[in-house]
Symmetry: C2
Subunit: 225 residues, 2 copies
């Protein structure tokens, strides 16, 4: 279906992100809303409603996760947030406020919550991640690697290098990967069941360059594998 | 299906809007994105792809229309914008930039474009509108009232009073009305075929007070009639 889609390296992913917010005129709140919505919609396509533990990182990948949590709640799931490092930035604080008003709790005991959930969303690190996983997320990834329930990774399986994949052997092995805008090079090594694409905001010129496949109907996600 | 949904007067609609952006922490870009998307999705449920003329007003109702235009383009429609009064505000300029990069043209000859289109979207006035229709929109409404193709109104049929409906007899008679957040009082006088609700961002506390119906699946719109 999407055999020719372009896989992005870190630099290209970053420059596309800059273009979307400068040349193409998008606000980050718009992009994050559509990205997070596409993650929630992809999940709703493949997993029954139930308790979902969303692990939220300190950057934009975490922001996508906060948006996804809110939409999952609207879809009938019971999301909870594990959010050990909450930055002061208004963008993230507002997304967390929205979650609070949707009765989405922030939880502390990761291991207990894994046991009580039927699905994990890994919204910890995105395409800006480089190098080694630092505290407290080294512990988070260790606990998630032990989980026996499916993991859905947002854009990048956390712990993976954007280009070389699970180079350090500390990364997650997600059951679903939701690539955003376009898949990153590491997605070629994804071995889970479901590879989706989200981010239906790519203008035609960019979509043509990246060989973005057609999204079906009004859906904000499309399956790639 | 939605027999008990609350119909809002102008003051209540305005205070709900303020609450969404203060107490509940939403950015206007998020609300507008989801509102505009729900308009596009409602259209895609009921009308075949074709050329759509979107008439854009100077305020937030127009902003919803600009977002809807972009999503309609992604869904395979051919949207064009009639946008006679373009405010300087960054919010609207950015939405127009996004439309430009999606090859959505801005057109001038309203009567000619009505003839060439299969559907009109009325995103001229919303719930802030009060009093008499001033130039150039008096001419716009006069031309649209003559149109023989269906009109989809965003939140309020333009020319109508939010509460008393088509009090001055200059308003449109839409085939579809997409109410946003909750229907306004004038929607009780809507006589078109399709009444939809969009704006799936209402937190549970507010949804309960307003008797918002369940949205189906992952849809961002729900039919009310």
């Amino acid at each position: 279906m999407a055999s020719n889609i372009k896989f992005l390296g870190q630099k290209l992913a970053q420059s596309i992100d800059v273009d979307l917010m400068s040349k193409y005129g998008y606000a980050i709140e718009q992009l994050m809303e559509l990205a997070g919505f596409s993650v929630a919609e992809s999940i709703a396509r493949e997993y029954p409603v139930g308790k979902v533990l969303l692990c939220i990182g300190p950057g934009n990948n975490g922001g996508d996760g906060l948006v996804a949590a809110r939409h999952l709640k609207h879809f009938g799931y019971q999301p909870v947030l594990y959010y050990p490092k909450q930055p002061e930035k208004d963008l993230y604080r507002n997304l967390l406020t929205q979650c609070g008003h949707h009765h989405i709790p922030v939880v502390d005991d990761l291991v207990k919550e894994i046991t009580a959930s039927s699905l994990i969303v890994d919204a910890i690190f995105g395409f800006s991640f480089k190098g080694l996983v630092r505290a407290p997320f080294d512990q988070t990834l260790a606990a998630l690697r032990e989980a026996s329930i499916p993991i859905v990774s947002v854009d990048i399986p956390s712990g993976w290098d954007v280009e070389s994949g699970d180079a350090h052997g500390v990364g997650l092995s997600p059951d679903m990967l939701v690539s955003l805008t376009a898949p990153k090079i590491c997605a070629k090594e994804f071995r889970g069941r479901f590879h989706y694409l989200g981010g239906r905001f790519v203008p035609p010129e960019m979509a043509q360059k990246l060989n973005i496949p057609e999204y079906p109907g009004t859906s904000q996600c499309v399956r790639l594998n």
